[in-house]
Amino acid sequence: MRRLPIYLLIDTSGSMRGEPIVAVRSGLQSLLASLKQNPYALETVALSIITFDGEVKNLVPLTALEDFQIPYIDAPETGATNLGEALEMLLQKYDTEIVKTTPDRKGDWLPFTVVMTDGKPSDTLMFKNMCEKIKRYKFARVVACAAGPKAKTEPLQQFADDVFTLDTMDSSTFSKFWQWVSTIVSQQSQNVDSTQKDELPPPPEEIKLVL
C-alpha cells in the first residue's frame, strides 16, 4: 500500500509556551478528526511529528492515519529554535522511513511537509547547510508558516515552496490554520497521483501568503 507521508515540524521553543502551544494541541486534534472522516486521507496518509526547541524530538514516527495517537506536546520554559536540526532529522527520516520505489515494487508517494515556527532559526550554520541539502530531496510540497509578530519569513523562503504568515497566535487563528492544513492535506491525498501541482486552496483571511 503506497503511503502519502506527511511530516509536521512544530516549533516548541520557549515563546510557544502558554496559549500558542495549547492552540497547537487543539489544532492537531481537529486536524486528525477531520482527516479521519476523509476517505482519500484514510487510504494513504501517514503522519509524523517532529518538534524543535533547544532539542529536536521525533515525537511520533511515521504512522498510518488510522493508528495515529496525538502525543502530548509541550514547550520548555526557555529554549532555542533549532530549525536546522529539525530539518536534519526530517531528511534522516526521509532516508529511513519512506519506502523507495524499486524496479519491482512501488514505493510511497512523495512526502508533504508542514513547518510551523514563531521565531527564527538559532542554529544558523546547521540551518544553512540543511537548506542546501534539502534541495536534493524530492517533496510533493513543503509549506512553511511563520506564526506571530516575531516570526521571520526570510529563512523559511530558503527551503519551502510556499510560505505563509499568521499575524496573531491566538487559538482561533491557530484553529483556522490547522483547518486549512487539513484542507491542503485532503487535497494532496486526492491528487497524490496527479501529474500537476494544484493550486493550494485559498487560506482564511488570518493567513497570508508571502510572495
Binding site: 476517505p39 520505489t101 512501488k106 497521483d193
Partner: protein, 492 residues
C-alpha cells in the same frame, strides 16, 4: 456569520448563511439557513463562456432532461443545479441537498460523513473504515452500477458528456442500492463548451493522460469527452463490484512516481486482469492482508460478474483501453447490468458478506465471496424471440436464474420492453412469479393473457401455474414481440 438574501436569475428568492464554506475544487459552498439547499459560488469570476455554460445547464439542458416524461426519475440520479445567483461579482448555483441516504447513519463510526464513492471503491476503505452496516450487498452494488450507467446514457443522449465522472462526483448508498451523480456544473457540450478539467486521477482516460503536456489548442491533445466518460464509467463499475482499480497493478514502469503515474494511467495502461499479459497483475505484498480478498485477482476475478459484464470489461479494458472508439456505450453497460441481475442467486450462507452472487452456470456453482457451494435444484430460463416475425425464434442471449419468490416481468415476456426509466407503471407490474412448492418448481401466471405450454400444447390461463421440468418450452405471449422460454433444471 451573515444571513444573505438574494434574488435568483429566475426571480425566486435565495438565502444562505455566509460562514465557514465547505471548499470544493473550484467552489465555496454555503447552506440555506434551514438546510433546504446549498449555494455554491465559483471562487474565480466566471468569464462569458463560463456563465453561458451554467445558464444552459440550468436552463435548456435541465429542461431537456427533467421536462420530459420520466423526468422525475432523473431527480434521483442527478443532483442538478436549479438556479443561478450573482453575489459580490461571483456566480453561484443553487443545488438540491443530498438525500439522507447519502450520509453515514447515526451511531456508525463515520456518522454524518457523505457517502462519497471513494469509501466503497478502495479495498482499504471498504474493509477497514466503512461501518459493517453500511457495506451493502451485491444487489446494492449492481443497482448502483445500473444508476450510473443510466445516468451516463441519459447525458450522452442529451448530447452532453460528464467529463469528470469519478467516485468523487458520485454519491453511493450500497445499503439502499442508490447512486447520485453530483457536481454537474462541469458538464461538457462537445463543440460548444470545452472541458475545464482533465478529470480525476484514477479515471483519466489513457489518451488524455498521454497528451496532457501538449498545449490546449494542439489538435493532438485529447480532452475529456463522451469517449473518456466511457472509460471512467467501467472503471467506476469495476471498482464498485471488486473494490479495486482495474489498472493499478504492481508493474513499476518508472522509478519516479510522477512518471510512473503518467505511464500507468496513460501510454502503458494495462488491465491488471489481462488474460494473456500478466505484466501488471496485482501482487499481494507484505502487510496487505487487510486489503484481501479484493486485491487477490485469482480469488476474486472479474469473471465472477458473469458473462455479460465480463465481455464488456474485456472490450473496455483490453480492446478499447487504447482505442476509444471501441469502448462500450453507456446503454450497453446498462443492458449488461440488467441481464446480470437476472443471473443473481442468493448465497445459502446466511453470513455471506455479499449475500448474493452471479450464478456462473457451472454444474458445481460456489459463491465466490464465501466459498459456500450451491445446493439444490434450480431452473434456468433462456429467452428466445422472433425478430423477423417468421416463426424462427432465436436466442436473446438473456437468461433468468430462478430462486424462490423471483418475479417475471413484461421485459421478460416482450422483447420490445426494456426495463428503464421509460417503462410505464402498467408494464412494470410483475406478470408471474416462481415458487418452490412441495419439492417442485412452479411458475404462476399473473398477467400473461396468452401464455402457453408449447411442450404440452396447452394454454396457461392467468391465475394458474405450470410445473417447471427440464426441456420444457413456454410461450410467454403470442404477440409478434412475445418471447419463448426454454427451461433447464440445474442440480447443485
Amino acid at each position: 456569520m451573515t444571513h444573505i438574501k438574494l434574488t435568483a436569475k429566475d426571480g425566486s428568492p435565495v438565502e444562505f448563511i455566509k460562514k465557514d464554506p465547505m471548499q470544493g475544487g473550484v467552489k465555496d459552498v454555503y447552506w440555506h439557513p434551514q438546510k433546504q439547499y446549498v449555494v455554491a459560488f465559483f471562487r474565480k469570476k466566471l468569464d462569458i463562456a463560463g456563465k453561458d455554460r451554467i445558464e444552459k445547464l440550468v436552463g435548456t439542458y435541465r429542461e431537456r432532461i427533467f421536462g420530459l416524461a420520466g423526468g422525475e426519475y432523473w431527480k434521483k440520479i442527478f443532483c442538478w443545479p436549479e438556479k443561478i445567483v450573482e453575489h459580490e461579482g461571483l456566480t453561484g448555483i443553487i443545488v438540491p441537498k443530498y438525500e439522507e441516504c447519502y450520509f453515514f447513519a447515526k451511531g456508525t463510526s463515520l456518522e454524518g460523513a457523505e457517502k462519497e464513492g471513494k469509501w466503497f471503491a478502495s479495498p482499504k476503505n471498504f474493509n477497514r473504515f466503512v461501518p459493517p452496516e453500511e457495506k451493502g450487498d451485491l444487489i446494492g452494488y449492481m443497482r448502483i452500477c445500473l444508476s450510473l450507467a443510466r445516468g451516463t446514457r441519459r447525458l450522452h443522449l442529451a448530447g452532453l458528456s460528464h467529463s469528470d465522472l469519478s467516485y468523487k462526483n458520485c454519491l453511493v448508498d450500497p445499503k439502499g442500492g442508490n447512486a447520485c451523480i453530483i457536481d454537474i456544473d462541469g458538464l461538457v457540450v462537445p463543440g460548444l463548451f470545452p472541458p475545464d478539467v482533465v478529470g480525476t486521477p484514477d479515471f483519466i482516460a489513457p489518451e488524455v493522460m498521454q497528451t496532457l503536456s501538449l498545449p490546449l489548442n494542439d489538435t493532438n491533445r485529447k480532452l475529456p469527452s463522451r469517449l473518456t466518460d466511457l472509460h471512467a464509467l467501467p472503471v467506476l463499475i469495476y471498482q464498485y463490484l471488486f473494490h479495486r482499480h482495474p489498472l493499478r497493478g504492481s508493474k513499476v514502469w518508472d522509478m519516479d512516481s510522477d512518471k510512473q503515474e503518467k505511464l500507468e494511467m496513460g501510454e502503458k495502461a494495462l488491465f491488471i486482469e489481462h488474460p494473456t499479459d500478466g505484466t501488471n497483475r496485482r501482487k499481494v505484498e507484505n502487510g496487505e492482508d487487510k486489503l484481501l480478498p479484493w486485491i487477490n485477482t485469482a480469488k476474486i476475478p472479474y469473471t465472477i460478474a458473469g458473462p455479460y459484464l465480463k465481455a464488456l470489461f474485456d472490450t473496455a479494458f483490453i480492446e478499447g483501453l487504447h482505442n476509444p472508439a471501441k469502448r462500450p456505450s453507456a446503454d450497453e453497460w446498462e443492458a449488461a447490468v440488467v441481464k446480470t441481475m437476472d443471473m443473481i442467486q442468493p448465497c445459502q450462507n446466511k453470513s455471506c458478506p455479499k449475500k448474493w452472487f452471479v450464478f456462473d452456470n457451472k454444474s458445481k456453482p460456489v459463491c465466490p465471496y464465501c466459498g459456500t457451494p450451491f445446493k439444490g435444484v434450480l431452473p434456468v430460463l433462456d429467452f428466445y424471440s422472433d425478430p423477423m416475425g417468421k416463426g424462427k425464434y432465436r436466442p436473446d442471449n438473456h437468461r433468468l436464474m430462478v430462486f424462490d419468490g423471483v418475479s417475471l416481468y413484461k421485459w421478460h415476456s416482450d422483447r420490445n420492453v426494456f426495463p428503464s426509466e421509460k417503462v410505464s407503471a402498467a408494464d412494470s407490474k410483475r406478470v408471474g412469479y416462481f415458487r418452490f412448492w412441495k419439492g417442485k418448481w412452479m411458475l404462476v401466471n399473473e398477467g400473461l393473457p396468452t401464455m402457453k405450454n408449447i411442450t404440452a400444447g396447452k394454454e396457461i390461463p392467468i391465475g394458474q401455474g405450470v410445473d417447471l421440468t427440464d426441456g420444457l418450452q413456454l410461450l410467454l405471449s403470442n404477440e409478434p414481440t412475445g418471447r419463448i422460454v426454454n427451461i433447464q433444471i440445474v442440480n447443485g
